[in-house]
Symmetry: C2
Subunit: 343 residues, 2 copies
Amino acid sequence: MARRPSNDTGTRPVSMADVARAAGVSQQTVSRVANGLPNVNEQTRQRVQAAMQELGFRPSYAGRSLRDGRYHSVGLCINDVTKFGNLSMIDGIASAAREHNCAITLVEMSKTEEFSLAEATRRMAALPVDGIIIGMSRMAPDFETFDPLPGIGTVIVTMYAHPRVTTVDSDHYGCSLLLMDHLFELGHEQIRYIGGPSFSVDEQFRRAGWQDALERKHIEPVEPLEGDWSANSGYEAGRYLAEHDRTMTAIYAANDQMANGAIAALRDSGLRVPEDVSVVGVDDSLDDFVAHNELTTVRFDLHQRGREVFEHAVPEAGTAGKTVAIRIPGQLIIRHSTAIPRA
Amino acid sequence: MARRPSNDTGTRPVSMADVARAAGVSQQTVSRVANGLPNVNEQTRQRVQAAMQELGFRPSYAGRSLRDGRYHSVGLCINDVTKFGNLSMIDGIASAAREHNCAITLVEMSKTEEFSLAEATRRMAALPVDGIIIGMSRMAPDFETFDPLPGIGTVIVTMYAHPRVTTVDSDHYGCSLLLMDHLFELGHEQIRYIGGPSFSVDEQFRRAGWQDALERKHIEPVEPLEGDWSANSGYEAGRYLAEHDRTMTAIYAANDQMANGAIAALRDSGLRVPEDVSVVGVDDSLDDFVAHNELTTVRFDLHQRGREVFEHAVPEAGTAGKTVAIRIPGQLIIRHSTAIPRA
DNA sequence: AGTGCTATGATAGACGGGTTCTTTTGTCTA
DNA sequence: TAGACAAAAGAACCCGTCTATCATAGCACT
C-alpha cells in the first residue's frame, strides 16, 4: 500500500541499504566503498562494488543534498530563451558553471510578459539551486521594492543598479559611447538612431548612450525610431530615414539585425553604405547568417559576463556578498560599414 | 564544531522546526499550514505564516525530494548551447517543461568534442532529474552498445534509431524529400548540394535525403560540397559552383545560413536567383537577421519536438516506456528563391 | 452525561547518504 | 597466554519534509 515500494519488487531506486543487503555487509561499509575511504578489506570492497554494479546503484541526489546542504546547480530565470540577449546569457553562464562543475537549472517564465522579481525568486527558491540568477530584460514591476531572499545568493542581470542586490551586465550604455565616438572621429554629426522596443532595458541604455553622446557635443538628437530588433523593422526604419532625412550621415541601429536591415533599405533607396551613409550595430551577431559581414559593431565578452554573474550568485566561501554593480565593457569592431561622411 | 550550525546563529537554512519554535506551535502544525491542510485555527495559521515570513522560511528542496521521490526537473545534456539545433531544443523543451511545471537541468558538455552516452548519462544521473534528454548532434562512440540506466526515462534526440532507447527528432531526412520534390515539380534535375560538416548527424540525414531523392529519379548525384553551417562557407561553396558548374539549375543548402551565403555568391557571380538558379535551405531561421527573407525552406515544429521529447523522458504514470523512434515532419515554406529553371 | 466535532500536540517513521562513535575481529609482541 | 594495537565493520544518529497515529483538550448540541 506504500506509495513507493519499500521492498525489492518495485521501481524504487537502489539505495545503499539494498547494496549492503546484497553484499552482506552494513550500509556504512557500502558508504566507505562508494567514497573511497580506507579501512575496507580488499575482498569486501570488490564484493560491494560487484553488488553496486549488478543492482545499478546510483547515489541519491536528494539524500546527498540534504546531508551536505549544496545542490551544485545554479538557477537561471529568463523570459524568452531564443532572444539573443538571453541565449548569450545561457551560453556564458553554462561555461562558468561547467568550470565549477555545476549544472544550470533553467526556468523560462512567460515568453512575452514581464514578471516580478518576487515571483521569479519564489519559483527559483523552490528548486535545487545554490544561487539565483534573474535575467531582467524588461523592467520588473517590483524592482525598487524587491528584497532578495536571505540565505541564497541572488544576481540580477540588468543595467539598472539596485541597492540590495548585485547586478551584472554588459555595458549597454558604454557601447553606444564607443560607437558614437567612432562616428564622431570620422566626422559624423547627424546620427540617427534605430532602437529596439522601448520596454527593453538594453534598448533604454543604448538609446540613452546615443542621446548623451550627442548632447555632450551640443548636437540636438533627432527623433529616435523604434523597431523590434528584427531585420525587417530595421529595413522599415532605414527606408523611412532614406526618404525623409537628407542631412543624416550615419545611422546607429541598436542591434546588428536591424542594422543589417537598414543597410538593405538604404541600398534599395539608392544610397551607398558607407560612402553616403555609415551604419553601425551592436552585438556582433551576424557572422553565421550573413556572408562577408562588413558591419562595424560592438562585441561583448559574454563569457566574462557569465563568469561574473555565476561567481556572484554562488560565492566561494569567504567571498561573500557585498552588493555591487558590475558593467562589462564591450569592444569596438571596426569593419567597413563606416567611413568619412560625404562633403 | 558542526559543519552546519544546528542552532539559531549561523547560515543554516530555516527549517519547519525553526518556524514551529518561533510561532510556538508544533512542527506538525507548521506542516499543515505550509501545505494548506484543513483543521488549523485561523489565528494559528496567521501566526505561523508570520513566522515563516519573518524567518524567510522556504521548504527544503532536498528534504521534499527525498520524501516524494520526484525532482520536478528534466535533465538536458548537449554540447554547444549556441548552435541553432541545440538552441531550438532548449526552446522547445522549455515550453513543454513549463507546461508540466517543471524546470530544466542543463549541462553543457564540451563545446566541440563528441561525448559518450555513458558519460552523459552518468553525469546527468547524479543531478536532480526525473528524466534524461541527450542531444546527440554527432554520433556518440558508444551509440550501438549503450544501455540506458534502469529506473529513469532516457531520450536521445537524434535521427538514428536505437533498439533500447527512445529517440525523437525532427525529420532531417524527410525535409530533403520535401525540398527535392518541390524542385522536381518545378522541373529541376541538376541539383547540387551544400552540406554541413560531415560529423553532424543532421547533415548525414539531410544529405542522404538529397541523394536518395535523386537516385529515385535515376539522376546521378554530383559531388556534394561540405560547409560548416555558416553563411561564409555557403558563400565559398556557391562561388565554386557558379564558376565550375554551368549545368546546375538549383542548389540545396543544408541550412538557411549557408543558403543565404550561396545566394550572395551566385549574385556576385552574375547569376540571378531564382531566374538562373533556384536555392533552398532548411530551418527557417533567417527572419530576424535578413530583411525581406525570400528563401524557400523547411520549417520544423520545434515545440512539438520538445513536447515529444519531454513526455517520453518523463512519462506520466501508466504511459511508461516502450522504445519508439519518433520523427516529426517539417513543413515546406515556399518563398521566392525557387522558380522554373531556365530553358 | 453522552456524542461528535475541531484544533492541536506528541511521537515516530520513511526517505538515502554520510559521519561519528563503538564494537568486533585479527595479528603481533612481550 | 595475556596485552597491545590496528583494521574492519556495525550501530546510531543527523539532515528536513511529510504522513500516520494517537492522545487530549475544548466546545456545541442533544
